[in-house]
Each structure stands twice: as C-alpha cells, then as structure tokens.
C-alpha cells in the first residue's frame, strides 16, 4: 500500500468532498429550516455554472469573480421564485411533499431553459489554471480543486457566521427551532424563509461553479449533482451547517481511501453501502440536528 497514492487520493477526495458540501449546505438548510426539499437546488447551481461559463467565454471573467457576481444574482432570482412559487405552498398540510413536487417541475423547466439558451452540448470551465497543480514534494494539489476547496471554505464559513452572528441569521435559527415563539417575538417568518431560501440558492450557485471547475457539465447534470446533495445530507444531517462541512470531509475521506485501496469498480458501491450501514445505525447523521 503506497503512501503517496493514499495521501494523494485523500487530498483530492477531501477537496472534492468539500465542493459537494458547498453545493449541499443550502439544500440542507432549506430542508431543515423550511421543510422544503428543494429538488431544483442543483439546477440553480448549474445555472450559476453556466453564467460563469458564459462570462468566461465572452468576457474572460475568472470563475471566482463570477461567483461573486452570480451569488447576488441568484439571490435575487431566488427571492422571486420564493414569492411566486414557494410561499403559496408553505400552507400545505405536508409542505415537504408539496415542495418536492413543485421544485421537481421547476427543475425540469430550468433544465430545458438552459438547453434552449446554451444548447445540450457539454461544457468545460477552462480558466487559466484549469489543469495545473501546486506541487509540494511528491504531492499535487490541483488548482481547480484548490479553488473549489477555497470557495467552499469561504462559502460555508460565511453561512455559519451569518447564522451565528447576525441578527437575521439568529432569527433564522429561532424560526427553525421554535417557529411560534419566534413569531411572538416579532420575527417575520415569511421574510426569514425567503432569505433562507435565497441564501441557499445563491450558495448553490457558488457550489455549481466549483463543481463545474472540476468536471464537465451539461443541462442534464443537475440530476447527477442531486445525488451528491442527498449524499451529504445523509452524513451531515438535515439542516446542520457544520454537519454539512464535516460530511464533505468524511465523504471525501471515504472516497479517497476507497479509490486508493479498492478496485475502482467497487468504489461507489462501497461508499454508498457504508453510508447506508452508517445511516441505519446513526440515522440523524453524525451530528445532532441543529443549525
């Protein structure tokens, strides 16, 4: 068993895992705080990736900067989506199911709109650093992975700080934990929900860009990304920001280890199998449910 192979595997696995975490933190929040299973979360992420791609192709804008642009854009878009589509169904008896059905439809619409605008051809994000690496001894830290990792740390930390340190953020946590009490204290639940939703979607945009830096993408890719979302939620727990980050790490470690030690054919199977077993014994994810 080779130390370099193992370490290298772990490094890239962890960095990828964190990118999944960035993509998923919003999904986890929406589910936990608003009881909305946002099936079009990945599609919005993909939209962010396409925006960054176009900015890169047409104006040479680096994806990191595009992230800064698409995050507020998606935030605004998500506010609109919330008002029009999500808010009406929050009164449903089972919001979780209604939200799933609605956002499923939304995901199909988003996918096909993206086809109409960008065509079905697969795309690759190719900024100048797209296939270089930082070499430290025998180890390679691939630049796109580093960028994705960096964006992920920044994004998740930002969300965490928002929830812990800002007034709005604390209101979000209050609304999640004690909705009636929060209302009594003057918290406008609708406004809070909208902000949570919009925040979640905008981080999806950043996550989408990071993921797009690593692999090729096309309008149908959000279905694949959705799988990663559920994967992170399995480990990190629903609604738990710190849990999401740690889930990214853990998934990265498991993937990295299995890629180094097992035949590749079995990697996905072992990963999912392990997670399934893990979930059976610790269904709430590793961490206590909490924002």
């Amino acid at each position: 068993m080779d130390a370099v192979l193992l370490t290298q595997s772990l490094i890239s696995g962890i960095m990828m895992g964190m990118v999944y975490a960035l993509l998923s933190v919003g999904f986890s929040l929406t589910w936990g705080v608003m009881h909305v299973i946002h099936i079009s979360h990945a599609a919005f992420g993909l939209l962010g990736a396409y925006l960054a791609y176009s900015l890169l192709e047409c104006f040479g804008v680096d994806p990191i900067i595009s992230a800064a642009v698409s995050v507020p854009l998606l935030f605004l878009l998500a506010c609109g989506v919330y008002q029009l589509l999500i808010r009406p169904i929050t009164k449903a008896k089972e919001v979780i199911v209604a939200s799933m059905i609605l956002t499923f439809g939304l995901a199909i619409i988003l996918e096909n709109v993206m086809v109409l605008i960008w065509k079905a051809d697969p795309r690759i994000m190719t900024p100048t650093y797209s296939s270089g690496a930082l070499i430290v001894g025998p180890l390679y830290f691939q630049y796109p992975h580093l960028v994705g990792f960096g964006l992920s740390i920044v994004g998740i930390t930002a969300i965490y700080l928002f929830l812990q340190k800002t007034y709005t953020g604390m209101a979000v946590r209050a609304a999640w934990q004690q909705p009636e009490a929060a209302q009594l204290y003057g918290v406008n639940l609708y406004r809070i929900s909208m902000i949570t939703f919009a925040l979640a979607v905008s981080t999806a945009g950043a996550g989408g860009i990071s993921l797009a830096l690593l692999n090729s993408f096309e309008p149908h890719s959000h279905n694949l990304w959705l799988i990663y979302l559920f994967l992170v939620v399995i480990v990190g727990g629903v609604g738990n920001v710190v849990g999401t980050a740690l889930a990214g790490l853990i998934i990265g470690v498991i993937t990295g280890l299995s890629m180094a030690l097992l035949p590749f054919q079995w990697v996905n199977l072992i990963t999912f199998g392990l997670l399934m077993v893990f979930l059976i014994f610790r269904p709430h994810g590793l961490f206590k449910q909490g924002v």
């Binding site: 589910w31 299973i37 099936i39 589509l85 009406p88 169904i89 009164k91 449903a92 008896k93 089972e94 979780i96 199911v97 209604a98 799933m100 059905i101 609605l102 499923f104 439809g105 939304l106 995901a107 199909i108 619409i109 996918e111 096909n112 709109v113 086809v115 109409l116 279905n223 959705l226 799988i227 559920f230 939620v233 399995i234 629903v238 054919q265 079995w266 996905n268 199977l269 999912f272 199998g273 997670l275 399934m276 979930l279 059976i280 269904p283 709430h284 994810g285």
Partner: protein
C-alpha cells in the same frame, strides 16, 4: 363498498379487459401497459409512503430486482413464455424478501432519514447489479422473444399487467379499510402516540413495506419481458423512484384513489406532450404542470376535490 361503486369498478375493469379484443394498434396496448405499470408502482409505494408516511425514495430498486430476477431465472432455466410470466411472481417474492431484510433496520429510521436511506439503498442495488457478472453486470440481459404474433404477445402482456393492477388496487382498497391500514395511518399522524396505543408499529410497518415491494417486483418482471432486454440503467433509475413518489402524492397520498389519478394523469400527459413539435417546450410544459397543480392543489388532487365538495 357501495353497490354502485362496485358495479362501476367492475364495468371499468371489464372494458379494460375487453380492449385488446377490439384489435387496437399494438402501441395502445403498450401505452396502457405502461399506464397500468405506473398505477401499480404508485399504488404499492403508497402502502408505505402515503398510508404510513414513510417516503421511500428508492422504490425503483424493487422494480429492478423483480426485473432482473425474472430475466435471470428465465435465462437460466430456459423458460417458455408462460413460465416466464409466472416467474415474475417468485421474482416479486424476492423483491419482497429484500424489503423484509432491509426494512427491518431501515424502518426504525424516521422522517427524512428514511427517505435518504432508501435512496442510498437504490444506488447500492444498482451498483451491485452492475458489478456482478451473474446478474448481467453492465451488459444487461436479453430475454427470448415470444414466438407468437406481436399483437397476441402484447395483448397477453396487457391482460397480465391489468390483472396485476386489479389485484394491487384491490389490496390497496382493502388496506385502506383494514385494521392494518388504520394502524399505518395512526403511524403517519403520530408514531409515538400510535405506539402508546399498543399498535405493533414495527410489525405493521414491515408488513406494509413488504407488500409495497412485492407488486413492483412482479411489475418489474413483466416490464423486463415486455422490453426483452433489461439493463441496470433502465430500471434502477432515480427518475423512476422520484416519479413514483410524485405520482402518488400528486394524486393524493393516503387514499387508494390518489396514486391512480396521479399515475394516469402524469403518464398520459407526458405521452400526449410528446406530440409537440419542440421537445424542450414539451418538457417545460410538463414541468409547469407540476408547479401549477401544486400551487392550486397543494395536498394532491383528491384532497382538493374533497375540500371543494364539502365547502
């Protein structure tokens, strides 16, 4: 069941059963075949999803297990068409057995985590089949074409799937009225309370789960035979799992009629939209349908009309 309800149901079944004798085009037989199939999938899912409130996101796994079991058994024993169709029943039993095995630990998990563990389970089964040569691996399995005229073979498959649908719906209807069903509904509204009422929640959850896997397993076997070629990507598809959930809840979970409505409407509309000139626009309209219905009928279609009626 009220007398006129029974009569109406019997008439509908008779009409459906008589349909092949009108010598329709093979396509309509195939189309109805897939409608019946989705009704079976959505209704069976409903046993655990709608009645008990345990949303299984990996139900395509049971569908696929039935499909592969049938294909493999037929191949290994070189079965005749009649036996192949009958082989779908043990295939369904295998799916039910798998449900029993994983149901036992999984049904202890509640809420969103059950959804997520079943999703995981579906991936595991998909990957397992792809990596095991004996089960077809990544190549898939071919089945022998029935040596009869195509219209006859499609008519036979139609009638068998219709029969399966009637049986499944009968079970669904019975479940809605039985003590088992009442227990499941109690679990759905509040499991802790149900337990204090001395309802054997663990036992009935497993029973519902097994039932919910059995019929999709058989349907999967029939589907495999209908396609005569089966591959993991075709049956273990997350889209099928999600679609089943949507169909049941779209129509209205918790009632036996809901999944039927959901499955029929969604399948028919999807097929109808395919006549549109531009494929992407058709898909957008299909997506919009979900949005519009959910906004106006957030608790499913059945519930909407229930409310309307009593208003």
């Amino acid at each position: 069941m009220k007398k006129y309800h029974l009569a109406a149901t019997a008439i509908i079944i008779a009409i459906l059963a008589a349909f092949p004798f009108l010598e329709p085009q093979v396509y309509y037989l195939s189309f109805m075949f897939s409608v019946f199939m989705y009704v079976i999938l959505a209704s069976s899912w409903n046993f655990i999803g709608g009645y008990a409130g345990y949303l299984s996101f990996g139900h395509a796994a049971f569908f696929g297990i039935g499909a592969f079991a049938t294909a493999k058994i037929a191949a290994v024993f070189d079965l005749s068409p009649v036996l192949t169709i009958l082989a779908t029943i043990p295939a369904g039993a295998i799916a039910a057995l798998v449900a029993l095995i994983i149901g036992y630990p999984c049904l202890k998990i509640q809420g969103p985590y059950f959804a997520v563990v079943t999703l995981c389970f579906a991936f595991v089964v998909d990957l397992a089949v792809k990596n095991i040569e004996f089960l077809g691996g990544a190549e898939g399995i071919w089945m022998k074409i029935m040596d009869v005229p195509e219209k006859l073979s499609r008519s036979i498959m139609y009638e068998v799937m219709l029969l399966l649908m009637v049986v499944t719906l009968a079970v669904a209807w019975w479940l809605g009225r039985s003590r088992l069903g009442a227990g499941l509904r109690a679990i759905r509204s509040d499991e802790e309370v149900a337990e204090t009422m001395a309802i054997p929640t663990a036992k009935i959850k497993i029973q519902a789960f097994i039932l919910s896997a059995f019929f999709p397993g058989i349907a999967g076997g029939l589907f495999a035979y209908y396609l005569t070629y089966i591959h993991a990507d075709v049956v273990f598809n997350i889209s099928i799992s999600i679609l089943i959930v949507l169909m049941a809840m779209f129509g209205g979970g918790g009632t036996w009629l809901g999944p039927i409505i959901g499955a029929v409407i969604l399948t028919v509309v999807n097929e109808g939209l395919s006549n549109f000139a531009q494929a992407e626009i058709a898909r957008i309209i299909y997506g919009a349908l979900f949005i519009v219905v959910t906004i106006f009928m957030p608790n499913g279609i059945i519930d909407f009309f229930r409310k309307k009626g009593s208003g």
